[in-house]
Symmetry: D2
Subunit: 297 residues, 4 copies
């Protein structure tokens, strides 16, 4: 069962291509922490800007750079059902342990709950590796209703959901309807503490690429019942978490990783790197968090 903190890895690029060296190195560095595993090819991985052959390389390289026991999740959702199935098969071939499947993002007016259900059923039937649902209506358009999750959760090959709605009432509703072994993970770093106290099993959050240990500590504080520490850490992480998602997106995340000692690299066009003021702002946030690092270690 998936538990703990997983970073959704950004994809390192040179001007023209995948930066395989940096990818290998970043995965290895991140895995020195107590992170539970890794997600590649999520939206933070610029999956929408990546070609299939690149995707295969990314999965392969990440798998090779990771400790054998840790789960490697790969984003495999496409708009067409058949393309999604093909992506699951290729991710499995290259070493992914789980497929994170976003809903189709086109023709969203026609993505009724019945259509989504049929789509996920077909994908889960065909995928060689277990499937995670992915709910983020603000980005993907279609919402996977709690009642739909409840039904899909009974499929043998659907083992969890990444919920990035940011809506705790919705998370409560999902948790009230699924079995305890179905892994509900939050995708919003700003509510990790509350989500864990609601019964989620962990998180897949961008900021875990930047300050992995702080995210793991927040998780552990909740597990050990040290709620005041967890809440203080939650509040402290919020500005950086927000900066590397809502505010500055992948470009902000990559800049923050570079400032934190990784090689963030540049985003792929049409995405542009952040301005230098944003870097300054991010640097300030990281400095502020060092106080916490001291305190929590």
């Amino acid at each position: 069962m998936l538990r703990g903190v997983f970073p959704p890895l950004p994809t390192p690029f040179t001007e023209d291509a995948l930066d395989e060296g940096v990818l290998r190195e970043t995965v290895a560095s991140l895995m020195e922490s107590r992170l539970s595993g890794l997600l590649v090819l999520g939206t933070n991985g610029e999956s929408f800007l990546i070609e299939p052959a690149e995707a295969d390389r990314i999965v392969r390289i990440a798998r090779d750079a990771m400790p054998a026991g840790r789960p490697l999740l790969a984003g495999t959702g496409c708009d067409a059902t058949r393309a999604t199935i093909a992506a699951c098969q290729r991710a499995a071939d290259h070493g992914a342990t789980h497929a994170l499947v976003r809903p189709p993002t086109s023709y969203t007016r026609f993505m009724t709950q019945d259509v989504l259900m049929a789509h996920y059923d077909r994908v889960a039937d065909a995928s060689p590796i277990p499937v995670l649902l992915y709910n983020q209506p603000a980005v993907f358009g279609a919402e996977i209703a709690a009642s739909t999750v409840a039904i899909l959760a009974r499929h043998d090959n659907i083992v969890g959901i990444k919920d990035s709605s940011g809506n705790i009432a919705h998370v409560n509703d999902v948790l009230a309807r699924v079995a305890a072994e179905f892994s509900v993970l939050t995708g919003v770093a700003g509510i990790m503490y509350q989500a864990l106290l609601s019964g989620t099993r962990g998180s897949i959050v961008a900021v875990a690429n930047v300050v992995p240990n702080l995210c793991v500590e927040l998780y552990e504080f909740v597990m050990t019942g040290e709620l005041h520490k967890a809440l203080a850490l939650q509040r402290a992480l919020a500005p950086l978490a927000n900066a590397v998602t809502m505010q500055h997106g992948v470009a902000g995340l990559k800049a923050a990783m570079t400032l934190a000692g990784y090689s963030g690299t540049i985003p792929r066009l049409p995405l542009e790197p952040v301005a230098s003021e944003v870097e300054e702002e991010l640097r300030g946030m990281l400095r502020h968090l060092e106080l916490f690092t001291g305190w929590t270690l």
Copy 2:
């Protein structure tokens, strides 16, 4: 300081007028519970459908039917600054202890943070009773940003906020910016448990009109650290809480109150009573909660 659970009282109507007898009786009944106080003239009180002279009577009758020590909050927000100030003064004259001030709901494109700030400053300067802010962008259009709350919270006569955004990340952000004596209350029953664990002081939630003791118990479970009980109760309350707000609105709330032994009465036109199927659905939800009542008492 405001703490605990406050019901936002629906306004009882006959076909033509305010039903003063029912109002008196409902207030008295609700106050037999451990509810901390009462809100009149909120959106659940059909404030948008009530005339000023009626509003004065509602405040007066509620005050007279309540124990002296308990706070009586009155909704006094209007679109014009001057009308809002006048409403605060009249509410104070008739016995309200606090004014809950929603933002202007017209010309919302021009309700910038600066304009909202100036509006609330003027209202708080002039109000004879302490003011609570009210944030619910989905209903009111304008959003009061966390940074605006932080500034307004320093005004001597602004003592708290009802936040009905339902967004725990936003609630976190507000709480991280205000002093401990500033009362942050959630207006979303579906997240009471998580909001309390985040540092809010209580809630103003429609479902507290229907099952006041269960809401108070949830509050108390969190206060005493019985988190598993609190979470179980939170999940159990969610469907009814949702039914009397999002799903069926004031009409649903009034129907549920009648089913729970109060006199809910009818809503005022153009609002219509719920259909009989909805009553059946609500009856089922209440029956389900009786199990909890047994367990928790």
Copy 3:
């Protein structure tokens, strides 16, 4: 039958009160043009910020300052059905010839087409003067569907609609469903030309308070088939029309009126006057239009 161009008059204010002198004077000035009549108490009239006693004065003064034969429309829509009926009666008592009734703007999730239909039916049954519907979902929340307009248009006392959706496909749909004597007026100055060519009878547009003659000329060019002139004028008017609505709202409209030689006065709080840069921008737009005034006269 209502035809031609009607300005939705802004309400002149002093710091504390209605500015009756300016109101009288502005109405008289505007009526020297070929405008067909006048609307008071619309959203451009800051109706949401005005008290009932002031509303009565505004209708009375406008009536007295207008030529007897021209229609005086008054905004009378409130959230409650009973308040709306009362407002229609008072407007009629003070001299309005038509009531423009916006839909309720609160509890909008419950403003189904059935509820809107029942609301308008009750209002039209009780109103002593003919009723105009008002559709502007972006501002009022509820949308009056074309199929609802078709049914309401059969009521003897509902004689037209102001449609401010800005959506020509919707206007087409309404026009295809109503009788020729039902007056469809557009509320969006940026599409007057196309709306007239689609079968609408005229417009109620803010910019007609600033450059009444240009608006009337656009109308007349279409009536006489001088389509190239009409289109050129439509394009020329668009920036100013947009500035005094979408961009700068009532405050922008009042500033533009002052620049055009009327007394715009200040808006009522919480609305604030525009900044001086906006005045400069408006001045430039007016200057640009003078070329057209020369050409078209």
Copy 4:
């Protein structure tokens, strides 16, 4: 210069693959009309569900089945700039005369006007065939502002725009800013008449796949100044036009084509065919239009 009516061709599928025979046949049939040309790989062509190799075949087959002189537009927009450029090159290689480039639909919060401008500039610089912009914010997320269109229109290799905003005020604004030889085409069949009277050069509308001659006649009526006929036809076409886009999407379009004598085929999963009631509804609409066909021929 592009003028007249272009159908955005749906892509015919068998259960597993592209139906090349039907594709060839449909293109040939449609080209017997006075349609100006054809668009393949638009959103109505299920471009989001199609693989690159299929896309190449579609362009090639359409080109071969069309009269030599008529323009063949191909949708080539992808989320990544490099993928978009590659798609333009491949479309040109296979016989397309113009590339219709939708904006990136992911990371839309970061698709500022500057980013869009840089993206389109790079694409237009590299594309071997002229580029058309594509504006449809409701579907694509990002809006191409009129001021951005004005700047991009000066690029030698950007020759027009498909505007599917449905917003005539916006279309006016674009037309006021571009040169006469820049081809503005509307993508909303419900406003073809008004768009032509505003200065657009034609349309790319789904319903032109179903009743091509009626769409061409509407265009010709406006060109010859027979406005009453054009308006009557516009109103008559609206329900069908709406049914095959907003209401029932590509599945509705394919069903309507089959009813009109073409082979619509099924949509690709996750899209599902329409229910039989929808077919009945579409059949009724087509029957109603036959009256018009009689009258207009």
